[in-house]
Symmetry: C3
Subunit: 225 residues, 3 copies
C-alpha cells in the first residue's frame, strides 16, 4: 500500500492546494462564459473533483473521496467564492494560476496512479487512471461549458507531462522503488515538463497528412486553430 | 433508516409522478431540437433518471434504482410516447408542466438527500447529492442536446429551492427530527420556493463586477444574456 | 451464467475486432474535427470502450473490463495510431468501416445484454443495457466532440438493430434457449438489419405533427435535416 508515500498531513495539504487551483481555473472559465453564481460554483467543483471522481468510480472506491473528505468538498466552493467576488484580480495573476495548475497536474497524476494501483489495477491501467485523474476534471469542465475539451484540440501538450509523471510512477512500482522520494521526483518531473511546454509553446501534432499540409500552407493551419 | 418516511406505495407513486414530469420536459426539448424518436426517448430517460443514477453510482447503490424498478424504467418511455404523438398539446400546457416540474424538484431533493444519508454519507454531502438528484438529469439532458446547461447560466434560481429543501432535510436529520411530516415540510418548502422564484422572476447573480457593470450599463448586460 | 456462450477465445477475438472498428470511427471523427494526437487517441478510446464502461459501472462490475483486460485497453490505441498516420486511406474504405461497425453493433448488443443478465438485472433492463453497450460509446464520442449525438437526431436507425438484437437475446433467455447458436442468430440479425437500414436509407420518424408536415411541404423538412 502506497497510501503513506508522503506524510499524510502533507499529502492532504497538497491535495487541497491542487483542488483549490483546479477550482480557480474552472471558476474563471465560468466567469468568461458569463455563467451565474451556480454555474461558477458547479464548474469549480467539477474541474477540481471530476478527475478523482471518475477514478474512484472506476476502481470501485465508493463513496468517492470527494464525498467523504469534507475538505475536498468545501475547498472548490471557497475558490468559487473568491473568483465570484475578485475575478478580475484572479484573472490578473493568470500566469501564477497556470504555474500552480501545472503543480496540481503533477501531483494528481502521481497520486491517481498510486491509488489505482493500490486498488489492484495493472501498471498500464493505473498510469492511464493517473492521467485521467489529472486531466479528467478539465475535460468535464469543458463539456459542461459546451466547448470542445481543450485537451483534445488545443495542441498544448497538457496530457504529456501527466503521462510522463504517471508513467514514471508505474516504472518505479515495477522496480519496487516507489517511495516518498521517487514519488516527489515523478511529481516534479511532470511539473517541470509542463512549465517547459508552456514556456516554449511546444505543440502536439495533428494527424499526419494535415501536419504535412502545414509546411505547404502555414496560414491554412493557423486559421484552423 | 429513512426508507419509510412516507407510506411506501405513496412514495413510489410520487417518485413515478416526478419521473414522468421530468421526462416530459426532456422530451419537449428533444422535439424543439428536431430530434428523431430515439432522441426523444433518450432525452426523456436521461432527464428523468440521470440525477438518481448519478446519486446511486456515487453511493454505491448498484444496480441503480433506475435499472431495478420496472416502473422507473417504463415511465419515461410513456412520457416520451405522449410527447411524440401529442407534443403541441403538451407544449400548450407548459405552465402546468412547469408547476409539476417544481413539485418533482421538491420531491427529488428530499428523497435524494435521505437516500444518500442512509448510505452513510455526511450531512453536507448528503444534501449535495440531494441537490444533484434533483438537478442532475436536467444537466445531462442539456449536455446531450449540446446546449450549455440552463442550470449554469440562465440565472433562473432552479438550484436554490433544491438547496433549501435538501438543507432542511439535513437540519432535520441533525436534530433527529426527520419523519413523514418534516420531510413533507421540506418538499413543500422547496416546491413553494420554486413557484415563487418563477412567478417573481428572481434572478441569480453573475460574478461580482459584472453585476455592478449592470447598474452602469444595463444594455450591455441584457445583450450578454 | 452465459459467459461461455461462444468459445472464450473466439469471443475475445470478436470483442477486440469490435473495439478496433469502433475506435477507427472515433479516431476518424477526431481527424475531421482537426483534433491533435491526444484528441485522436481519446476519442478512439471513448468510442470503443465507453458503452461497456457505462454498462460495467451500472451493474457494479468494477474495475470495468476496459481497465482489466490489456487487449481491450491497447486495441483502441493501435486503431488511433493507424488513423493518425493513414487516415486518408482509412477514410477511403469508409464503406468497409461502416460494414464492420454494423458487425460491432450486432456483437456488442448481444454480449452487453448477456453480461447485464449475468449480473442479475431483469430482462428488459438487460436489453436496455445491451443497447447502451452498443451505442453508448458513440454518444460519448459525440458529446466530447461537442456535437449533438448522431444517435439522437440523424434518423439513421442506428438504435433499431441494437434494440432488435438485444430484444432477441432477452426473448431467448426467457425461453431458456440462449446458447451459442441463438446468440449468433441475434448478432447476425442485428448486423443484417443495420446493413439493410444503411442500404435502403431507412429513416426514424420525428415527432408526429412534424412528420405530417413533411407530406405537406417536403422542402421545409429537408431544410430541417
Amino acid at each position: 500500500m502506497f497510501h503513506d508515500l508522503f506524510n499524510p498531513s502533507v499529502q492532504h495539504a497538497l491535495d487541497l492546494a491542487g483542488i483549490f487551483v483546479f477550482a480557480l481555473a474552472g471558476a474563471l472559465l465560468a466567469v468568461r462564459k458569463n455563467f451565474d453564481v451556480f454555474g461558477i460554483a458547479m464548474l469549480a467543483m467539477v474541474t477540481a473533483l471530476g478527475g478523482g471522481l471518475f477514478r474512484d468510480l472506476i476502481i470501485g472506491a465508493v463513496p468517492p473521496a470527494a464525498f467523504t473528505d469534507f475538505g475536498y468538498f468545501v475547498t472548490p466552493l471557497v475558490a468559487a467564492a473568491l473568483v465570484f467576488f475578485l475575478h478580475p484580480e484572479v484573472a490578473r495573476i493568470n500566469r501564477l494560476v497556470n504555474v500552480l495548475d501545472a503543480a496540481g497536474l503533477g501531483l494528481f497524476c502521481v497520486t491517481g496512479t498510486t491509488k489505482a494501483y493500490d486498488y489492484g489495477l495493472g501498471l498500464t491501467q493505473s498510469a492511464a487512471l493517473g492521467l485521467a485523474t489529472a486531466v479528467g476534471g478539465g475535460v468535464l469542465r469543458d463539456v459542461l461549458a459546451n466547448e470542445v475539451p481543450s485537451l483534445l484540440r488545443d495542441r498544448e501538450m497538457y496530457a504529456v507531462p501527466a503521462i510522463v509523471g504517471a508513467g514514471l510512477v508505474a516504472v518505479f512500482i515495477s522496480f519496487d522503488a516507489l517511495n516518498g522520494l521517487t514519488a516527489t521526483i515523478a511529481t516534479v518531473t511532470a511539473f517541470g515538463f509542463r512549465l517547459l511546454a508552456m514556456h516554449y509553446h511546444w505543440r502536439a501534432p495533428r494527424a499526419w497528412n494535415r501536419r504535412s499540409a502545414v509546411s505547404e500552407d502555414p496560414d491554412a493551419n493557423s486559421a484552423g486553430v
